[in-house]
Amino acid sequence: MSSLELRGEGLHLWRGDRHVLRGVSLQLRGGQMMQLTGPNGAGKTTLLRVLAGLAYTEEGSVFWRGENVRKNMHAFHAELAYVGHEPPLKADLTARENLRYWIGIRRPLAAAEIDKALDDVHADREWRERPVRTLSAGQRRRVALAGLTLTGVPLWLLDEPTTNLDTAGQTLVTQLLEAHVARGGLAIVAVHHELGVRDVPLQRVELAA
């Protein structure tokens, strides 16, 4: 298998009459990070969903490790984690149960690993046993971040990962991204403000409205 590299070539996508993605091309290698910026409605989320293989483009293709991702979608998805702007959590399950099922269908997972991941995002021992519906939006976001680190995959696609987080939480996102990229991972993050990552090769892609 060739080295870690995500490439998008000439991506065009229409939503009805709107030409949302107008020939977007990008390239990212292991150990690099990309920030997507642009006004609301510029297509940041759409681009992330195209890169994840959820949405289909009218023109252009996405390549992972030099191969068109449409060729082997399952293998591509096994190396990718996508967290949208809503954390993908079940309201009736606790934080730990959520991670057990969400990440458990991807890879075998020990209970101790879940606890450690929740410790790492500073999730309180008390609230990780409560149904997610009783948690605040910021606490849910932290659970989603714990899930992200548990996937152990090289490619992260994150849509507004800092939404609803306090200052400490935003620093946490920055640290997680720095650690992930330092380990050789790739991260594409759609976010408006500066992430403040240091010692990380950062590309900026601006999408026009």
Partner: protein, 237 residues
């Protein structure tokens, strides 16, 4: 992962069977946390079955004749009612999206969801069916036949219904549309099911009807998850 890219630790993937078991146990846990939603179809079934004697005749001889029809119409409507909940929450909170991105076969995971759905709604109906038939004056000896026909029929109903539920994911207030879409697929189940139940109650050999129901159930098991997965993918776009 090759030697040139060992930087990110690679984990082994969850075996498909384990993943399906996780989805199953997840759906069971969730269902029992909201027992109110779980008993809705059963209560609905009970209400329909109680109304018939009041509306038609309380005479056992008359009720025995309509029993198969009542059991099957009530079972069909109750399973339609339950279908609305099949994918709704998972679509809403992004769980379906994560299924599609898990690296596992979406068809397989949705099949696990259908099994959970059948255990939670079809199986209770298969137990309620013979009870209703008995209270409508059917002989005890007829009850295994009623049980088997509703059991097989409910598998087919759950699986055929999953296609409709997946197709109507993007639609708000999808209840009526779901019923209309699913009806052509479920009518054969109703016809064969009512026939087999009727034969069982009359004490005639009902194997032919039961076998046809079994065939429909197998058809549902083999084809419905594929169709549902395709429909779910479209809804995620």
């Amino acid at each position: 992962m090759s030697a040139s890219a060992p930087l990110v630790p690679g984990y082994p993937q969850t075996p498909a069977l384990t993943a399906a078991r996780l989805v199953l146990s997840r759906d069971m846990t969730l269902a029992f946390r909201r027992a109110g939603e779980l008993v809705q179809p059963l209560i609905f079934f009970a209400i329909v079955a109680t109304l018939f004697p009041l509306a038609i005749t309380p005479e056992k001889s008359g009720l025995r004749v309509v029993a198969p029809g009542v059991v099957w119409v009530a079972a069909l409507l109750a399973s339609l009612l339950a279908l609305e909940f099949l994918y709704r929450d998972d679509a809403h909170d992004g769980a379906l999206e994560q299924f599609a991105l898990s690296g596992q076969s979406l068809t397989w995971l949705l099949f696990a969801k259908s099994i959970a759905h059948w255990i939670l709604t079809g199986l209770p109906l298969a137990i309620m069916g013979p009870l209703t038939a008995w209270s409508f004056g059917a002989n005890m000896s007829a009850l295994p036949g009623v049980f088997i026909s509703v059991l097989l029929g409910s598998i087919a109903l759950s699986l055929f219904g999953s296609i409709g539920a997946a197709l109507t994911l993007g639609v708000r207030r999808s209840g009526v549309l779901l019923s209309i879409l699913t009806l052509p697929l479920t009518v054969p189940v109703l016809i064969f099911g009512a026939r087999a139940t009727q034969q069982a109650i009359q004490g005639i050999d009902y194997t032919a009807g039961a076998q046809l129901l079994g065939a429909l159930a197998i058809l549902g098991i083999t084809l419905a998850p594929l169709a549902a997965a395709a429909a779910v993918r479209i809804s995620l776009e």
